[in-house]
């Protein structure tokens, strides 16, 4: 019988305990996988670009900037391309169908994001030429079953229309794809001009300005130049990387990552502690068996190898099952999480971290009882039989 076969028999001998233990580990690592994937994906819009910078009001992200800032910003030497955007939001039919809708200046926006968004030329033309048109991301279109040409009514209770209505009607000009899988397509874009004219207040203001540097210019220096330019203006600005902006944007819905990290982290640590103590107890109960092996002449090294090997193997098998479970769950819910955690996935890095932590858990859970077993008199261990 090989050492592996021996380990297998030990597991089989106490199969209920082994099953419960492996189930616990699998759940722990399913949580770990989901947590890690969420944590890595959170705040990343997938289309974050190292060159693109976002300019918002220095007072706070929710404070609008005057549209004049956009025109002035384009005069700064370091700025290459720039565009504007304002949060529109709203929902489709029911409040639970909340929408990530952004009002943009179509021409300049598609210029800045042209490398990230793929759309049919005809659809692009249709969007640019019709102020009542909207451009919908693939993920969002599939979520609601929308097709190009559909007329969609979006309810917006937060942004009142000048005519007192809450319904905004748009024609779907086209469905855009992300240039890569990581790019979030759970958005829709409407025309800023139409939005600006129709709303009851805050006319000629915008939410943020996105800009990319002129050839040869450094994006950070560009950001500093923008903020310096508006340093004496009534509406001062702050310019940061797109990633920082994305994280701040998501944070307005609550610091989901922190909450997730705390809740799942606490659950995970508790579960792992239970696993460690159960493993330790299981090994303690096998002391007589280990005593037999010692009596037969099994060396300390070999016994340590068997005990720790069994623990590591069990944690590895069940942990990998847990990660596979996490991958399944994430795969099934990636669309609904796309807006806050785009491109969420169990990455090779998460798998590697998982496997390393499994080995560490297997060793740490069994090392102390294994060490005790080899340092206990063989006769004492046999007497426990």
């Amino acid at each position: 019988m090989s050492a592996l076969g021996f380990i297998g028999l030990s597991v089989k001998a106490a199969w209920v305990r082994s099953l419960v233990l492996m189930l616990s580990v699998a759940i722990a690592y399913a949580l770990f996988g989901i947590l890690a994937a969420f944590y890595l994906a959170y705040g990343s819009t997938g289309d974050d670009n190292a060159d693109r910078m976002i300019t918002t009001s220095k007072t706070g992200f929710s404070q609008p900037l005057p549209i004049s800032h956009f025109r002035q910003l384009q005069q700064i030497d370091e700025v290459g391309a720039a565009s504007i955007a304002s949060w529109f939001g709203g929902y489709y039919r029911e409040p639970r169908n909340s929408l990530h809708a952004i009002a943009v200046d179509p021409v300049s926006y598609l210029k800045v994001y042209g490398d990230d968004i793929r759309i049919e030329p005809a659809a692009r033309k249709s969007f640019l030429s019709d102020r009542t048109a909207m451009m919908v991301g693939r993920s969002m279109a599939e979520r609601f079953g929308w097709e190009p040409g559909d007329q969609v009514s979006i309810i917006n209770e937060r942004i009142a229309r000048a005519d007192g209505g809450q319904a905004w009607s748009f024609r779907i000009a086209g469905v855009f794809e992300g240039a890569t899988e990581q790019i979030d397509t759970s958005f829709l874009y409407i025309h800023y001009d139409r939005f600006n004219e129709a709303r009851a207040g805050n006319q000629d203001t915008l939410g943020w300005i996105v800009s990319s540097p002129a050839p040869g210019a450094d994006p950070i220096q560009m950001g500093q130049a923008i903020d310096a330019f508006f340093a004496t203006a009534a509406d001062r600005t702050t310019t940061d990387t797109e990633r920082s902006f994305s994280q701040a944007f998501v944070a307005q819905f609550g610091d989901l990552a922190l909450v997730t990290l705390l809740v799942l982290g606490a659950a995970l640590v508790s579960l792992l502690m239970i696993v460690a103590s159960t493993t330790a107890l299981a090994i303690k109960r096998r002391m007589p068996d280990l005593g037999i092996l010692k009596g037969l002449g099994f060396s300390h090294t070999r016994i340590l190898g068997l005990v720790i090997g069994e623990s590591v193997l069990m944690v590895l098998i069940s942990g990998c099952i847990g990660l596979a479970l996490a991958a399944t769950v994430i795969s099934g819910s990636s669309e609904s999480l796309a807006s806050i955690a785009p491109g969420i996935a169990i990455t090779p890095a998460i798998c590697a971290l998982g496997v390393i932590s499994m080995i560490a858990l297997g060793i740490s859970a069994s090392a102390w009882p294994a060490w005790r077993s080899v340092n206990t008199e063989t006769v004492t261990m046999l007497r426990r039989n």
Binding site: M1, L9, A13, L293, G295, L296, G297, S299, L382
Partner: protein, 232 residues
């Protein structure tokens, strides 16, 4: 009776500590066992006979004196060396059989061979050979819980001899067996001594079991005395 000394225990002392109390087990004890001999150690509970047996098997260390087995002073061995030596030299048989419940009789007997570089077919050959010798070959696929006490002890004996160690240490091998089964087990041990030349040291309370030995030693208050030498 063979002449060469196989086991030599010289001036051995052993104490246990229980809290701050030091409990002496034996002091200045000596024993010589010839190669191929079968001796029985008898005496009241707590007299130290099992401790002596464990010291000879390298399972417990003595406080002073020496234990020499086949020319090797094992009380000076480190743990690793002691384990290797025990795997090659000593077969252990216990009162409570000490079989691994998760393994079949075959698996239990095969255990010591995991330490030897043998092919699977060679291991199988050896297991079947010793199983046949102790007449347990028809129960190899059964687990200990499915075997009678006598069968379990025969499995334990087969396990003790499968790696062909020259020394067998038996601690109350018939302690949990009825009279008829005890006789069967003792006959096996006697055969191992007579036909395979094993040196056997057996601790027992049972005079009828001790009767199978070449020589019986009495243990009392840490002292050893030859009770009788008998024909096998």
């Amino acid at each position: 009776m063979p002449e060469q000394n196989f086991v030599t225990v010289s001036n051995a002392s052993k104490t246990y500590k229980k809290g701050r109390t030091v409990i002496p087990v034996f002091d200045g004890l000596s024993l010589i066992v010839s190669e191929g001999a079968f001796i029985a150690l008898m005496g009241p509970s707590g007299s130290g006979k099992s401790t002596l047996l464990h010291a000879i098997g390298g399972l417990e260390r003595i406080n002073s004196g020496s234990v020499n087995i086949d020319g090797k002073q094992i009380d000076t061995f480190g743990q690793s060396k002691l384990s290797k030596w025990r795997a090659k030299t000593v077969g252990l048989v216990f009162q409570s059989f000490n079989l691994m419940p998760s393994l079949t009789a075959y698996g239990n007997i095969e255990l010591p061979l995991m330490l030897a570089p043998l092919s699977r077919s060679e291991r199988r050959r050896r297991v079947e050979e010793v199983a046949n010798l102790v007449r347990i070959d028809h129960r190899l696929k059964h687990r200990p819980s499915e075997l009678s006490g006598g069968e379990q002890q025969r499995v334990a004996i087969a396990r003790a001899i499968v790696a062909d160690p020259p020394l067998l240490l038996c601690d109350e091998p018939t302690g949990e067996l009825d009279r008829a089964t005890s006789g069967e087990v003792m006959n096996i041990l006697r055969t191992l001594c007579d036909e395979l030349g094993k040196t056997i040291i057996m601790v027992t309370h049972d005079p009828s079991a001790a009767a199978y030995a070449d020589q019986v030693y009495h243990f009392d208050k840490g002292q050893l005395s030859v009770a009788e030498e008998q024909a096998a």
